[in-house]
């Protein structure tokens, strides 16, 4: 698979607000950060998939950014088996490790955003 093809799949998914990922047809490894080769076994037989967006907080931190105020940022473990970095939109809820979240993509910059699953 060419990188261009993967990029098109990712861009289309993001425009729909959905999280894309790749799954290796040889070894079953799934990953988000794109490559034309499986990072586990080197195979080029990759399946372009769309995530259901369901996951759990793997790690989270909060800090104040000069121009953006309070920022919540971390890593989500997705149900399909891969992890990604994203921002959290917390609506005042106190997300912690293992809290359920739903991850989507936003805007022109493809900002990844996770919201508490219960809301």
């Amino acid at each position: 698979m060419r990188f261009q093809e993967i990029q098109e799949h990712y861009d289309v998914a993001f425009r729909r607000g959905v999280i894309p990922f790749l799954s290796c047809e040889e070894c079953g490894k799934s990953f988000f950060y794109p490559s034309t080769r499986c990072r586990k076994c080197g195979s080029a037989r990759l399946d372009k998939r769309l995530s259901a967006g369901e996951g759990k907080v793997f790690a989270i931190t909060r800090f104040r950014a000069k121009d953006f105020g309070e920022v919540s940022y971390g890593i989500v473990q997705m149900e399909e088996g891969f992890r990604l970095y994203c921002n959290f939109e917390e609506f005042g809820s106190n997300l912690e490790v293992d809290s359920g979240v739903k991850v989507g993509a936003m805007g022109e910059t493809f900002q990844l955003l996770a919201r508490p699953r219960t809301l």
Binding site: Q7, Y10, F14, F31, F32, Y33, P34, S35, R39, F58, A59, I60, T61, R62, F63, A65, K66, F68, V71, Y73, G74, I75, F82, R83, L84, Y85, C86, N87, E96, V97, A105, M106, G107, T109, F110, Q111, L112, L113
Partner: protein, 383 residues
């Protein structure tokens, strides 16, 4: 082996990075009884912004050699961030041993103040220069806020707290002990004593990390001369060595709470308890805690208990960062490796002044560097 060394650190150096670099190089050579004409090997490193705010130096190793007026027959440019300094030494020793050079000048540093003034760190330089790429897939990675060394280590600290129950007070102990060690170090930035309460009442920079748990980026250079013939210093030897490079995005590692120090220290195969003191990379308190576990001083998850129950000051049973580390000197050009290495060489030569330990025969060093925690170098120096 190491025949001369020098280090200069300033909160803000008024002048060019090249100027300070040359000053430090000349000091190290002068200690070695050498002149620039004797230098036939050069090893250096670079991070964006630290040479007078420039994103990139074109053929940087050549520019360093050009500025110093040397024509090396051995030339090396390492790219491991904070771990580069430690990795330079065995490479330079190999170059000398195999006849590639007689005197290798290892030099690293720059001006952290130039990067600080732009409101970024070296790992977020893409925010001020669109020509900088952090990963092969920035387009899908840099949309949000924000991965930088502070948030990266904050996530590791948060996960360590959650998985193992590590408390803020335990991490703060690292800063408190190192401050005790720094009191008589002429490089130290902060004269006042530190308590756990003071660390925890400093502002939170990214949960759970506090300001006094993080290094402050400063200006500075370190130089070490590795020579075939050594006239002035004790003859040091590398007792053990290992490096490990884990290129993964931290989120794609099995967990955030392990570092490549696990592997580099295994490769070195030296029990750190056998050393007279340790110099452990200290970009943040959590960095020290993670390495205490990974180099085998404590089981994984028990670093917090370890620092509570072990006196790691220079009066204690296992002295760590005997000059106070870069948490107290500041971090020159976003790399602490030079600070660790200078302190080790001083201790082994009896040149640590008021903070000299007695009878130092071996020092265990571990450096961490790169984007996230990509690189680890374990180096044991003995006399």
């Amino acid at each position: 082996m190491i025949s001369g060394f020098s280090g200069k650190i300033a909160k803000k150096y008024e002048g060019s990075a090249f100027e300070l670099m040359a000053e430090v190089a000349m000091d190290a050579l002068s200690m070695a009884g050498l002149g620039l004409k004797d230098v036939d090997g050069l090893s250096t490193t670079f991070l964006p912004g630290v040479f007078d705010g420039k994103t990139h130096l074109h053929f940087q190793a050549s520019q360093v050699a050009q500025y110093l007026g040397i024509r090396p027959r051995y030339l090396d440019l390492l790219d491991f961030g904070g771990a580069s300094a430690l990795a330079m030494i065995p490479r330079a020793i190999n170059a000398v041993a195999s006849g590639l050079a007689e005197n290798v000048l290892c030099i690293l540093g720059g001006k952290g103040s130039e990067v600080r003034a732009k409101g970024v760190t070296v790992d977020g330089y893409d925010r001020v220069d669109k020509g900088v790429q952090l990963t092969p897939f920035d387009r899908y990675y840099r949309g949000g806020f924000d991965f930088n060394p502070v948030t990266d280590y904050a996530l590791a600290a948060q996960r360590h707290a959650k998985v193992f129950g590590t408390r803020d007070e335990q991490r703060a102990m690292v800063a408190v002990s190192q401050r005790k060690n720094s009191v008589t170090n002429p490089y130290a930035l902060y004269p006042e004593e530190l308590t756990v309460e003071r660390v925890l009442s400093s502002p939170v920079i990214a949960e759970p990390l506090h300001l006094l748990e993080a290094v402050y980026p400063v200006d500075g250079f370190h130089a070490f001369v590795v020579s075939k013939r050594n006239r002035t210093l004790s003859d040091l030897r590398v007792e053990a060595y290992g490096e490990a490079h884990w290129p993964e995005m931290p989120c794609e590692l099995d967990d955030l709470v392990v570092t490549p120090a696990l592997e580099s220290s295994r490769r070195a195969g030296f029990d750190p308890r056998r050393a007279d003191c340790l110099q452990i990379y200290d970009s943040f308190t959590i960095t020290v805690l993670l390495q205490i576990e990974d180099v085998g001083l404590a089981n994984k998850g028990e670093g917090g208990k370890f620092v509570e129950s072990t006196d790691t000051t220079r009066w204690g049973e296992l002295p760590i960062n005997t000059g106070g580390g870069s948490l107290n000197t500041g971090q020159p050009a976003y790399m602490s490796g030079g600070v660790l290495l200078e302190e080790a060489v001083r201790q082994l030569n009896g040149l640590a002044g008021d903070h000299q330990l007695s009878a130092v025969r071996s020092v265990f060093l571990n450096g961490i560097g790169g984007w996230g925690r990509n690189h680890s170098v374990t180096l044991v120096l003995g006399v």
